[in-house]
Symmetry: C2
Subunit: 408 residues, 2 copies
């Protein structure tokens, strides 16, 4: 039980709220900010002055002057090229590193294919090389305010250790620490489950804007989930929450990489779809392209592909029904390869939902695809990396700008 | 995005926090309050003065004077007999109405058996009679600050309408409104799913104190669930969240009251346990007593009862494993008839959990029984009813004490 905040807490909160507003919604006039945040204009002026002095925003005359007489309200813009984060997205088949400016602008990016047998050392090397190359291109006075990495596995919140992941058999993997050390930028690299980041991204910038209770389902080779409840990511006691891919929906069903059987992932994952479609052994046929090929074939009338998609859609529908009953989400969003599967099997998924979910939570739930497409998890990593500076903008920036003065 | 609170918001919050502290933890000295709430003693004095003037707490000299020299710190006590709520608990077989004082003291209670075929009108009549009888016994200057009812069904948050429940086929049932009208106390009666209330109660006063991510599983004739995430009840978009009893864990399995098949409720509910134990047809054999009889028989070595409990325990373990993967709770609490089933089948439940849940979220999860026993859902209803006065103590009480002056 905590007592109310101090004046200083409130100022910090308001600074963060204003910065968050222009970060997520774009440049805004002082008048708009005053109205949207419920603060008077003199408070907005004072907050903006602090954020400007810290180099986080700048004020400009509006590009299109308003119609009202008198002085136009100044527009507050995020300093997108001067304040940035590094976002890392580790997919099963693809690695992406991006420099993302305040306001969510992807300023620069590097992509590399990832071979499924690659070891953590090789992975680390590729990420470091990509990051160095894009940091070098940043403006000379730009400051990196955070870094985060999305990983398709189970990540402990406390120390960002990766506990379990596909094609990974190394015990606890401390990828964030290693990456931070190798980059030498003096900032930690947060690590988070990729589907959790996808949920964050879709909630803040995608299909889920305005919906505070949603579920994001992400298909890579496995199936991950991210749950937004009351507007925040549901992490559970240690940050492992959202592992909906390992909800058993078919006891005694297909074996799963986790050691169990009949998990959602085992019934609807990439390998299962390809196996049902008799495409398991085709050379080079893995990943999103392979899943898309099955969906396309089904669309063209290929009977085997249709049947495969129907089977996978049935199990996916059952998984969604369970989640609808348990969470009563306003929205379920399909991303990664599940985006394609959903587009190919929507009717089947809806049909199972109709018979297996309770009427009350089913009636208003909407099913959607990820609006951010293949960048959903990357955008989520960027948002995760921005979290600290958005929570306490001036202090974080002061610390980063004068590292030699700060106590270590 | 909301700006920080005003001074008045903070005062209200602090009043609520202080009152909540003595409500949940019992009488406390000003010194303890100052330390626990992180406020200085003059602020505590001012807050206590306001709460005292409102008749919510009183200050007394400590019963056992401390060892320190000087004036002893006054002890702040909740006005338990003068400020109360009405708590209604509708079980499948039992109805309870209680008058619960600030501080959580059950001041008075009435219980009645409920026949399974009873209609909403009969139910309402029993509840009204019970409530009237205990309100009449309240002290003359006592004030009822809230009322809430727990119901074993799906309840819409917005208007407290009951959408679905066992032995109920009446469309949307507005039991709260009807009850409030019949009672004529000028207070609304909130309605909430019983298992949700159980979660609240165990989190605030039971096995879950101190654990902010927990799952409460409640067995009556059906199986309900309540989820606490980050210390708050997870309701979802419309308040239907937590219906874990209708998570399908055995596709094509036993038919469920909801129309689906193989739901957790269908595999572990009372009827299924009794059917497996060949006790389905025994006269008078329903409810908690019947479940306890099976568990007792198994304990005495009855083979059929043992086998029945083993089967139910296996499915319950699978359900728990799914919830552990999806939520990463710190604690799973078994209440109602599931308390007995857990006690009889703990080994089996843990064994399934070990094979079906991911290692990471499984390692630290604890399994416990409801500390509040058969009163878990009743206590939850009382806590739910206290919520409003705890959020804004002085204003709520002022409104209730002067109803003739308030605008209608």
């Amino acid at each position: 039980m905590k007592a109310g905040p101090s004046q200083e807490d409130i100022r910090r909160h308001n600074l963060g709220t204003l910065l968050r507003f222009v970060h997520l919604r774009g440049p805004a006039s002082r008048a708009t900010l005053a109205e949207s945040l419920g603060l008077n204009r003199s408070t907005i002026m004072a907050l903006t002055a602090d954020l400007t002095a810290a180099g986080l925003v700048r004020e400009e005359l509006p590009r299109k002057p308003g119609r009202r007489a008198g002085r136009p309200s100044l527009v507050v813009r995020p300093e997108s090229t001067r304040v940035y984060v590094l976002a890392f997205d580790v997919g099963v088949d693809r690695l992406v590193v991006a420099r993302v400016g305040l306001g969510g602008v992807v300023l620069d990016r590097r992509e590399a294919a990832r071979s499924r047998g690659s070891d953590p050392g090789e992975l680390l090397g590729t990420l470091v090389a990509g990051a160095r190359s894009i940091v070098r291109k940043a403006e000379r006075d730009a400051v990196c305010v955070g870094a985060a990495l999305g990983f398709p596995g189970t990540v402990r919140r406390e120390d960002h250790a990766i506990m379990f992941g596909p094609n990974l058999d190394v015990g606890e993997l401390r990828l964030g620490e290693a990456l931070s050390r190798r980059l030498g930028l003096g900032i930690p690299v947060s690590v988070c489950n990729d589907a959790n980041l996808g949920a964050l991204a879709e909630h803040e910038r995608g299909s889920g804007v305005g919906c505070d209770d949603l579920i994001y389902l992400h298909g890579d080779v496995g199936v991950g989930g991210g749950i937004i409840a009351r507007g925040r990511l549901l992490g559970g006691a240690e940050g492992f929450g959202g592992e909906v891919g390992h909800m058993v929906i078919n006891p005694g069903g297909r074996p799963c990489a986790c050691g169990s059987q009949g998990c959602l992932e085992a019934e609807v994952g990439e390998r299962t779809l390809l196996a049902h479609a008799d495409r398991e052994e085709a050379p080079g046929q893995t990943g999103r392209d392979a899943v898309r090929a099955v969906v396309d074939a089904a669309d063209r009338g290929d009977i085997v592909a249709r049947e495969a998609l129907h089977r996978v859609g049935t199990w996916l529908g059952l998984g969604v029904a369970n989640l609808v009953n348990v969470f009563n989400p306003g929205l379920v969003i399909f991303g990664g390869t599940l985006r394609d599967i959903y587009l190919g099997a929507a009717a089947q998924i809806r049909s199972v939902l109709a018979t297996s979910a309770l009427a009350a939570p089913r009636e208003k739930v909407r099913l959607r695809t990820a609006a951010l497409g293949d960048d959903t998890t990357l955008v989520g990593a960027a948002e995760f990396a921005f979290a600290e500076v958005l929570a306490d903008p001036v202090q974080v920036l002061a610390r980063l700008r004068a590292p030699e003065d700060s106590p270590v």
